[in-house]
């Protein structure tokens, strides 16, 4: 693919570094020109971006850095052409997209075609359940022809080295792989510029380097790259680092780069906000990334007990006193083996470990090594297959309800992304949820809430809605909600993932404080630095080589049984046109309910067996898939057995009698239902979700005159299928997190049960809405619009073999009717 505007990076000379901050850069090809733009989310009360100007040259690699909430993501979205500022002028790829008269949608449309955008959460950018379909989505929206789409898929996959995953289900790839697919999806549209908003924020170290390697290779090909990041290591290859502070810019050249422009780094325009805090190379860490400022000491230097509130209150270990690391174990794990399904490689295998009371232990290990699984076991949210676990003297091998309830008084569990469990109207109410579930009196609940908020320095947020807070603040609130339960054992699963330095420091400080107060702490982390800083000891879980790619970052270990359809394209049924197949199967399934005689049943049985053979699927396997409905069959048959009194009586039990007619009815009714279910299972087995939704959209096109938007409805359906596993998994972790805070739907007063239900449903909806927000941006970035002319990578064509199937279906239905008439 040709990168049209790929001027060599060397054109960005140091002499320009001052002028290119200003409007009307002398440079020949500015890819982005922002001129005095301002942006506000609240109609001008606060300006997220304030009179900011920026020019980006073709082929440059720019890093945007700044603290959480500094406006860098907003800036990235404006650069990507996804949102507009309130004021100023925007020129993207030579298109004047925004000026004093507002947005020019036609210009935006053209500019967007040349801009790729990649976001934090890889999961929210993937739109289908097959990798190659996902790559095809953007080119389809651009209306490219089939052959070109095919080339683009190959190009995109090669660029991110994911060629062998072409037919995989992206929801089952690791986080790093998903993010590479998201980038490939953009590359398939052949963009001149790629805007990436913290693309590695949710990835572990290995996945981060995978993604950065892709960026390096794209940079080599001349693609303009705009990268928003927190991580100093990711700025190494940048031509320019731009700091966003209080809605303004500070421009710095890259001091890291060997033979780079460190000498010119001081040339920033005084017009752009406070002077940068970087005077020498070494201080960039502290200056540009720390932004601590706000009265927080670096965690390593802090003595939390000296200035922090006494979280545990009186009667607990005195603050300031060195913690007594006792000999009595808080956790004793012996020979534990755990797997999510029988076929799976066990996630944990013969694991034994011991954590002393008062100890802080870091738990490390590669993705898929079972860290999160171990955390769930320790919090009694799951049970081991073998071995024994004892936590705070309570045995958790097969815990009773009472055991679990006792345990929850002692164990606090901060899940991954704990901000996703927030639900209440105010921060204070959310933090109070755990203590209230412990049935403490209101005064004690209040005091717990106050202390927990104080320990994290977020007292001022008490009356705010948790949903109005920034991501970092939400994380702190969620953690406060766990420590307000006063656990003697606290488990934290990657508590600082995706946080900026300042918010991370508050969490470090809290961990040190709790440690001094005698709390046993298990900290799951990917950062060796974090482990060194906080833990007495590090336990490394061994990785499974074959599972290296098995799990997404930022997700709990996922059972490998998730819906993975392996369509049998080779079979006659598998290669049918999905529209003909779906309609034909539906016609058959409905007509099965007309079966009322043994002859009709026999005919239908032959047909279904024939179809199974044509699909190369064993009918026994399909029959097994109906096993969940066995109970229904049994009840139905029993009912029919006693209801139908035709024929001669076979057996009489007082008032109840069984007749030969009853037996026949029972068998026929159960059998015809079973046949219908088998066909349904066969249809799902031989058709991918994408094929089904394509067929659905195509079948709706005749109804366009009635105003049915087939294309849009099919996309809604396909996206819904795509997000099913994601939502299911999130719901599970929210249920876990709220149970760990003592919320229970099954027990308690009706009001308490309803509150427990609300504490689950509201976060599930909040999660769905968050996904929808991200997803809509991803759809925009892929140039999807309502009613556009799209081409299709998967071409559906009715062939003679499909016509044969139609004839068979028609003949069967006629025969069924004929047999009915004959009686």
């Amino acid at each position: 693919m040709s990168q049209t505007d790929s001027s060599p990076r060397s054109t960005t000379s140091g002499a320009e570094s001052k002028s290119d901050m200003q409007l009307g850069s002398l440079s020949p090809t500015p890819v982005v020109a922002l001129d005095h733009i301002s942006f506000s989310y609240d109609s001008g009360q606060h300006w997220v971006l304030d009179d900011l100007s920026l020019t980006i040259e073709a082929g440059q690699r720019i890093c945007l850095i700044g603290a959480n909430g500094s406006g860098k993501s907003t800036l990235a979205r404006i650069i990507a052409g996804l949102i507009t500022p309130d004021r100023g002028q925007v020129n993207l790829l030579g298109h004047p997209v925004f000026d004093e008269e507002g947005p020019r949608s036609d210009q935006y449309r053209m500019a967007r075609r040349g801009i790729g955008a990649v976001f934090q959460n890889p999961d929210d950018q993937i739109v289908t359940t097959v990798v190659e379909d996902d790559l095809a989505f953007g080119p389809e929206n651009l209306g490219l022809d089939h052959a070109t789409i095919g080339h683009r898929i190959v190009y995109g996959l090669d660029a991110v080295a994911m060629g062998e995953h072409r037919l995989d289900n992206p929801t089952r790839l690791s986080g790093g792989q998903q993010q590479r697919i998201a980038i490939a999806g953009m590359l398939a549209m052949s963009p001149q510029m790629l805007v990436l908003d913290e693309p590695t924020a949710m990835l572990d170290a290995d996945a981060q380097s995978e993604v950065m390697a892709v960026l390096d290779s794209l940079q080599g090909q001349g693609t303009t790259i705009v990268l928003v990041t927190h991580k100093p290591s990711e700025t190494l290859q940048a031509d320019r680092i731009v700091t966003v502070e209080h809605g303004r810019l500070t421009n710095i050249a890259n001091p890291y780069r060997p033979g780079g422009k460190a000498g010119k780094s001081q040339t920033h325009s005084p017009a752009y906000g406070p002077a940068a805090r970087h005077d020498a190379d070494g201080s960039l860490h502290a200056g540009a990334f720390a932004h601590a400022g706000d009265g927080l000491q670096p965690a390593s230097a802090s003595k939390p007990a000296d200035h922090s509130p006494d979280l545990a209150g009186k009667g607990h270990l005195q603050a300031g006193q060195s913690p007594a690391v006792g000999q009595e174990p808080a956790i004793q794990v012996s020979h534990v083996t755990m797997s999510y399904s029988r076929e799976d490689q066990p996630t944990l295998y013969d694991l034994s470990l011991r954590v002393a009371r008062g100890e802080t232990v870091a738990l490390m290990g590669p993705n898929g090594s079972g860290k999160s699984t171990l955390a769930r076991l320790l919090a009694a949210l799951a049970w081991p297959d073998q071995g024994s676990i004892s936590v705070e003297g309570i045995s958790l091998a097969k815990p009773s309800k009472q055991d679990r309830r006792n345990l929850r008084q002692h164990v606090g569990f901060v899940m991954q992304h704990p901000e996703r469990q927030l639900f209440a109207e105010t921060v204070a109410q959310d933090v109070a949820y755990g203590p209230r579930n412990q049935k403490l009196d209101p005064a004690e609940v209040n005091s717990r809430v106050t202390r927990a908020l104080a320990a994290l320095h977020i007292e001022d947020l008490a009356d705010r809605s948790p949903f109005s807070l920034s991501g970092g603040q939400q994380r702190l609130v969620a953690i406060a909600g766990v420590i307000a339960c006063r656990p003697s054992l606290l488990i934290l699963d990657e508590p600082t993932a995706g946080l900026d330095t300042m918010a991370s420091r508050r969490i470090y400080e809290l961990i040190e404080l709790l440690h001094l107060q005698g709390t046993t702490i298990v900290l799951i982390t990917h950062s060796a630095e974090e482990a060194r800083l906080l833990a007495d000891r590090t336990i490394c879980l061994p990785g499974h080589d074959q599972q290296a790619d098995g799990q997404g970052a930022g997700k709990p270990a996922e059972p490998a049984t998730a819906a993975a359809s392996t369509p049998q394209v080779s079979s006659y049924i598998g290669s049918m046109d999905p529209r003909v197949k779906t309609l034909g199967f539906l016609a058959l399934m409905f007509s099965f309910f007309a079966i009322s005689t043994p002859l009709q049943l026999g005919l239908s049985l032959v047909l279904v067996l024939g179809i199974c053979a044509a699909a190369r699927t064993s009918p026994v396997k399909l029959l097994v898939s109906t096993r969940v409905l066995v109970l229904l069959f049994v009840i139905m048959s029993a009912l029919n057995l006693f209801l139908d009194h035709s024929g001669h009586i076979l057996l009489a039990l007082g008032p109840l009698s069984i007749s030969s007619g009853g037996v026949q009815t029972a068998v026929i009714y159960a059998a015809r239902l079973m046949l219908a279910i088998m066909l349904g299972a066969l249809l799902m087995e031989t058709t991918t979700p994408t094929q089904l939704t394509d067929a659905f959209g195509s079948l709706l096109t005749p109804f366009k005159a009635l105003g049915l938007h087939g294309q849009e409805l099919a996309l809604v359906m396909s996206l819904a299928f795509r997000f099913l596993p994601t939502l299911g998994q999130e719901a599970r972790s929210i249920i876990d997190a709220q149970s760990a805070r003592g919320g229970s739907i099954e027990t308690g007063s009706p009001a308490a049960r309803l509150r427990a239900l609300g504490a689950i449903i509201v976060p599930v909806f909040a999660g769905a809405i968050r996904h929808a927000d991200n997803l809509s941006l991803a759809l925009d970035a892929r140039c999807y619009e309502q009613g556009i002319h799209r081409t299709h990578w998967r071409i559906m064509r009715v062939r003679p073999s499909d016509a044969v199937f139609v004839i068979i279906v028609a003949a069967y239905i006629l025969a069924l009717l004929g047999l009915k008439m004959a009686l």
Partner: protein, 244 residues
């Protein structure tokens, strides 16, 4: 109950969007949906021609930072994404099944109706229709008649409720619409169940009435009461999340 207090405080919030989508609305663009012709990225100019070059920035309460691209049709990407996630939620919850009454294991409670109600409250009747129909579509392949019943009942529940709530946009209106929706759904559930039961059991409709009504009526009464109460408790927090 914290959630209900919340509902008090925000009665006047406008929940439905002014430009709620309706699938029966005539399409404006009139582009061909499908054709084999190739278009180059450069000269591809879909519906750009039929919108004015400069769309006012905040028209009809539209997103003040929108690029104007989504303003042509009624299905913005935002709307598609929200519908997709609601449909996914409805699918997920339709696979949950909790037996409510002992002895009638085939009648099970699933919370998907709550999702349909919330979609209708937040985005109007058309959203209720989309979530009610698409959310059950996976069941079409496993349980055809059950699918028909589920869709008809979900429609009877969420469409009247969203129509009423749209007119009476207060907390009282929410109660009225939930009660009305519940009653419609109750009637629909009983009628459809009476009609499909003979497909599964060798009975006349008369026999079904005598035998099933004592079971159907209380089951569905409990079911729609739970739907209504839960929806009433969470619709304000959820709609606030949607419109933040």
């Amino acid at each position: 109950m914290s959630l209900s207090k919340h509902a008090d405080s925000a009665i006047t919030d406008d929940v439905t969007t002014a430009n709620s989508a309706a699938i029966d609305e005539a399409e404006q663009t009139g582009n061909p949906v499908r054709s084999g012709t190739a278009a180059r990225p450069g000269n591809h100019s879909t519906s750009a021609s039929n919108i004015s070059a400069k769309t006012p920035n905040s028209l009809n309460g539209r997103d003040p930072h929108g690029t104007g691209i989504s303003d042509t049709g009624r299905w913005s990407t935002k709307r598609i994404a929200i519908y997709a996630l609601f449909v996914a939620l409805s699918m997920v919850s339709s696979f949950i099944s909790v037996p409510l009454m002992p002895g009638v294991p085939w009648l099970k409670y699933d919370p998907s109706g709550i999702v349909c109600l919330l979609a209708g409250f937040a985005y109007g009747p058309s959203a209720a229709v989309i979530v009610s129909v698409l959310g059950f579509l996976p069941h079409l392949l496993t349980n055809q008649w059950g699918f028909l019943v589920a869709v008809l009942v979900a429609l009877a529940l969420s469409v009247p409720a969203s129509l009423v709530y749209r007119r009476i946009h207060t907390r009282k209106g929410a109660v009225i619409s939930l009660v009305l929706g519940g009653l419609c759904a109750l009637a629909m559930a009983i009628v459809t169940n009476l009609l499909i039961t003979p497909i599964y059991a060798h009975m006349s409709v008369g026999q079904v009435v005598a035998m099933i009504l004592p079971i159907l009526l209380p089951f569905n009464l409990i079911k729609f009461t739970i739907h209504g109460v839960v929806t009433f408790l969470i619709y304000k927090p959820v709609s606030k999340l949607l419109h933040d």
